[in-house]
């Protein structure tokens, strides 16, 4: 206990001494966060905060020191995140390297792969993207067709990936390829790591109905990937993919936790709707706001209950599907409700008669329609719950 308290005090002092003031302000949009990568341009403070934290290994606090992590145990890592929360200091680095491929490499990667790939992730030098979906393999992910054929020391990969988040900004991709077309579809898949600068890789952003392009199409034309870049076994990639999907769904549910201070729905209602005294006059909107507040509270409590039960040593189960499903549905309902409250002021695309916050609300609503599609559709999540939790027959 004493040593932990000592660690807490030292951590607090260190953070106070090193965190730039501008990094102790809330994040407005995801692009305010530091995603790392060779092509990234940052404000000076963002870079300074990244470097000083990376040097201490605290961009990846629980990773072993030899791979550029902080070597902290769970209790120490919890203290670090608590102290960072107390100071309101931003994460120095985010991205799929830290949350997805890094943890997978620690679990399944060879010593060589860990030594090569983990330290640059921790330093924010390399940004990763995820090559899973294909035009013909969305919900039916195991039906993917991108072919990888052995040629000497390389795999030669040909095919197309789609919905690749931030492929246009990433340096490396972890991807699923078909290495054996003659077996059960799940059994012929391999998990590869690919340098995005390899000849034959081309990327095209996809414009969404919201006007932004977080996703890309990635075309692979005889791309050579060294055989040393396989994670796990050749033809054993499906198990890796599923392990990662669990991480992804938890991450998505977490993203949709409403962290805005106060109650944005109420502030909107106060701005756009008549109120009698403090009471929102429209009883239907008022009831919808309350329902959403309560639903979000129940979701948060359920996430907490799941974390508490894991802390007590229970294994996480397929409940990640529940969080993904309910988190996205709740977020979408929130966006719908915000649009309903803003009324005609929520119809702007750009320009005269709409302010910044109104335009953002509209774009956020449009973007949210994809929440129940990306990362496994709501229908797929319900299938998983029915099968794995409830044991209903195929």
């Amino acid at each position: 206990m004493d040593t932990l308290e000592q660690f807490r005090e030292e951590t607090r002092q260190w953070l106070l001494a090193h965190a730039p003031k501008s990094m102790c302000t809330p994040v407005r949009v995801v692009d305010d966060l530091c995603w790392g990568g060779r092509r990234a341009q940052y404000p000076a403070d963002v870079k300074r905060w990244l470097d000083v934290m990376a040097e201490r290994g605290w961009t990846a606090p629980t990773w072993p020191k030899q791979y550029g992590g902080g070597g902290l145990d769970k209790a120490e890592a919890k203290i670090l995140s608590q102290e960072m929360a107390k100071l309101g200091v931003r994460a120095p680095l985010v991205g799929f390297g830290l949350t997805m491929i890094g943890p997978l490499l620690l679990q399944e990667g060879s010593e060589d792969l860990k030594r090569v790939h983990l330290p640059p992730i921790g330093r924010g030098e390399i940004r990763w993207c995820q090559g899973y979906s294909e035009p013909g393999a969305g919900s039916d992910l195991a039906g993917l067709q991108a072919r990888a054929v052995i040629d000497g020391d390389d795999f030669v990969v040909t095919g197309q990936k789609i919905w690749t988040s931030y492929a246009d900004k990433a340096d490396w991709m972890f991807l699923l390829v078909r290495t054996d077309p003659n077996v059960r579809k799940q059994a012929g898949i391999t998990f590869l790591l690919m340098d995005m600068t390899s000849p034959g890789v081309s990327v095209r952003p996809i414009l969404l109905i919201s006007g932004s392009s977080p996703f890309c199409e990635t075309f692979l034309d005889n791309v050579r990937v060294p055989r040393s870049q396989v994670v796990g076994q050749v033809n054993g990639g499906w198990a890796m993919a599923k392990a990662l999907l669990g991480h992804e769904r938890t991450m998505i549910a977490d993203i949709f936790k409403d962290r805005a201070p106060g109650n944005p729905l109420l502030e909107l209602a106060r701005r756009y709707l008549p109120a009698s005294a403090a009471r929102i006059a429209d009883p239907i909107i008022r009831d919808r706001i309350t329902q959403l507040d309560m639903d979000a509270a129940c979701l948060d409590l359920t996430l907490k209950r799941s974390q508490d039960s894991m802390k007590a040593g229970h294994k996480p189960g397929p409940e990640t599907s529940m969080f993904k499903y309910y988190g996205t549905e709740t977020n979408m309902r929130r966006r719908e409700l915000m649009l309903a409250i803003a009324g005609p002021q929520g119809l702007g695309w750009e320009g005269a008669g709409f302010d910044e916050s109104e335009l953002a609300l509209t774009r956020d609503w449009l973007r949210s329609r994809g929440n129940s599609i990306e990362g496994g559709t709501s229908e797929i999540q319900l299938n998983i719950i029915a099968k794995r939790v409830l044991g209903l027959p195929d």
């Binding site: 929102i280 329902q291 309560m294 409590l301 359920t302 099968k387 209903l392 027959p393």
Partner: protein
């Protein structure tokens, strides 16, 4: 706040589950109903629960209680709810007993709590009136001051376990207008008092509920619970706690209905396959499951909030009750639908759940009532 049961609580859960499995099945619920038993529950079983120490869980040790917390009570109530046990926990322990434990004088506590905890004394709380719906402050029953005490006149309905009670706690207006929070007083009356009559009500779940009529009933100054005109302070607290306890019971009920339905989906064959293989039913079953998980979190957090004596009890009571009301209604409706024709028959047990769900939904306020209350608590 840790949303997890500790080892002792898990042991208690095992004990409660075993007790329910051994002593009760839906056959007993059916027999109680079919025989028209006016008490609607078993005094013998109530006595056994008393011997296990369940009736005193939340009460101080000096009165024979265990001085434990609400999380322990939750564990028991959930198991009782799973088996639809009709024993009078909510009415005796959470409503009337709690009112006396929280608002009673030392003499009143000493006179009531030990024999309540031993299972010998039966109590009821009569607060609801035919016009008041879910608002406990809306009281037309009058208490007139006299030279020697009070005279009470009025009518209370839906009094949980009022039939067969030995003493009944009644809310009456001592000042102010009909719906004022202030000006309401609680009186502890003997059911044999002249002018007091009790008539059994038969509701869809066939549990014990009653009309309590007060025709110029005399009460002494000592019969007042707490302060004159300040009954709402006591009543609001106990109704919140009883609401949260009822949610634990509802949680057990919705889980039992879901699990019966899942069994049916796996075994009922149509078109040559189990009907549970149809995606239309799978998705609805998955949604029912999610509802039970969200409800469990709300119920657990609400009980823990009482234990931690937090200001947030009213808000959590409303979140839990709104959630459980909607979830239990949805699940019991879907349960009947997924059972198909047999779900509509009296012979099948699933009907007991849809009936209990509706009564529980409308006890202490529906989801809509609690959403409105929550919004008021949050100031919008």
């Amino acid at each position: 706040m840790e949303l997890i049961l500790n080892e002792e609580q898990q042991l208690l859960q095992d004990t409660a589950r075993e007790f329910v499995n051994k002593n009760s099945s839906l056959r007993r619920v059916r027999t109680l109903r079919d025989s028209g038993d006016p008490l609607g529950y078993s005094r013998t079983l109530w006595g056994e629960m008393a011997k296990l120490g369940w009736l005193g869980i939340i009460f101080p040790e000096e009165y024979g209680g265990a001085g434990l917390g609400y999380t322990e009570l939750m564990v028991i109530l959930e198991e009782l709810g799973r088996g639809l046990l009709p024993e009078p926990f909510i009415s005796n322990i959470l409503l009337a007993g709690n009112a006396i434990a929280i608002g009673g004088s030392p003499a009143q506590r000493q006179a009531v709590l030990p024999s309540l905890i031993s299972g010998d004394l039966l109590l009821a709380l009569a607060h609801q009136e035919s016009r008041s719906r879910y608002n406990p402050h809306d009281v037309e029953t009058q208490a007139q001051k006299t030279s020697s005490g009070w005279r009470l006149s009025g009518e209370k309905v839906h009094v949980l376990d009022g039939f067969g009670a030995d003493r009944v706690l009644v809310s009456a207006r001592t000042s102010g207008a009909t719906a004022d929070r202030a000006g309401m007083t609680l009186f502890l009356l003997d059911v044999h008092a002249p002018g007091l009559s009790i008539e059994r009500q038969w509701r869809i779940d066939s549990r014990n509920a009653a009309i309590v009529r007060l025709d110029d009933v005399a009460a002494a100054g000592d019969d007042v619970l707490g302060k004159v005109d300040h009954g709402s302070d006591i009543l609001d607290t106990v109704i919140d706690r009883a609401t949260i306890g009822l949610c634990a019971e509802m949680l057990g009920g919705m889980n039992a209905a879901l699990s019966m339905t899942l069994d049916y989906l796996k075994t009922r064959v149509q078109f040559g396959v189990p009907i549970g293989s149809f995606q239309a039913l799978k998705h609805r079953a998955a949604k029912m499951y999610i509802e039970t998980e969200l409800a469990r979190s709300a119920v657990m957090a609400a009980h823990k909030t009482i234990d931690e004596d937090s200001q947030r009890v009213p808000a959590l009571a409303s979140i839990a009750k709104a959630r459980c009301s909607d979830a239990f209604v949805l699940i019991s409706n879907e349960a009947v639908q997924m059972h198909g024709g047999i779900g509509m028959t009296d012979e099948h047990d699933i009907g007991f759940f849809i009936k209990r769900a509706r009564v529980a939904e409308m006890t202490f306020g529906t989801a809509a009532y609690h959403r409105n209350r929550f919004a008021e608590l949050q100031g919008y």
